[in-house]
Amino acid sequence: MKILYFAWLKAKLQMTEEVVSCSDERRDTDSLVRWMKKRGPAFEEVFSDLEVVRIAVNQEYITGNTTLSEGDEIAFFPPVTGG
């Protein structure tokens, strides 16, 4: 699965994208977020307040927990501020 980070999430994690395999501990968006939080202080901080993190799977916003599979594109980003 491809993971993308945007705006201040990208800056804090110092990463624009990465590839992780789909596994039992990353089978859906809820478990992916739990896994993220345990990756270190920067990740813990970024995912500490999920109110300010939006999640898109395959370029569509998701709200509830969403099943993931190999080949999916998951993006984490803050509330949008364009226009």
């Binding site: 705006a7 569509e60 993006a75 949008v80 501020t81 364009g82 226009g83």
Partner: protein, 152 residues
């Protein structure tokens, strides 16, 4: 029609292109968003916009479809820039054309309000001391977008 680009755009040329040779359009509304020297009480010296290529176009297309479903619009154009922009430069352009002025006005206002809360763009503002800050989401933008939800 959706365009996401780095380059500046010419408002007059875009409106012209939408209407030239047509005699069935009665009303054209345009909205242009410009880089302002002030935001939330802070002096701003420049702007940088990041976006999510691919998802941006999808979201903008969905917003356009929604507008076309709600109002009688003959033409609809959304241009949104990304990258660095100087003060006074245009960021976004929305143009709607309709036989009726109310449809053109409401559709353009709707497109801007939804775009503001849905299209994956993120602004970074530079201030006079050279600091760069991510712009925060605004409560007023959420309220503005909600206004159109209660219509359905």
């Amino acid at each position: 029609m959706i365009r996401v680009q780095r380059e500046k755009f010419d408002i007059g040329a875009e409106i012209e292109a939408l209407t030239t040779g047509r005699t069935d359009i009665g009303a054209v509304v345009s909205f242009t968003g410009l880089v302002r020297d002030f935001n939330d009480g802070n002096k701003v010296t420049g702007l940088s916009l990041e976006h999510y290529p691919g998802m941006t176009e999808r979201e903008l297309a969905k917003i356009e479809d929604e507008a076309r479903g709600r109002w009688d619009i003959q033409e609809c154009l959304i241009i949104h820039r990304h990258g660095k922009m100087a003060l006074g430069e245009p960021i976004v352009l929305v143009v709607t054309a309709s036989p009726h002025r109310r449809d053109a006005f409401e559709a353009a206002h709707f497109l801007m309000d939804w775009l503001k809360t849905k299209a994956p763009f993120w602004k970074q503002e530079m201030n006079a001391s050279g600091e760069v800050n991510w712009v925060n989401e605004r409560e007023s933008d959420l309220e503005a977008a909600k206004r159109w939800s209660s219509d359905t």
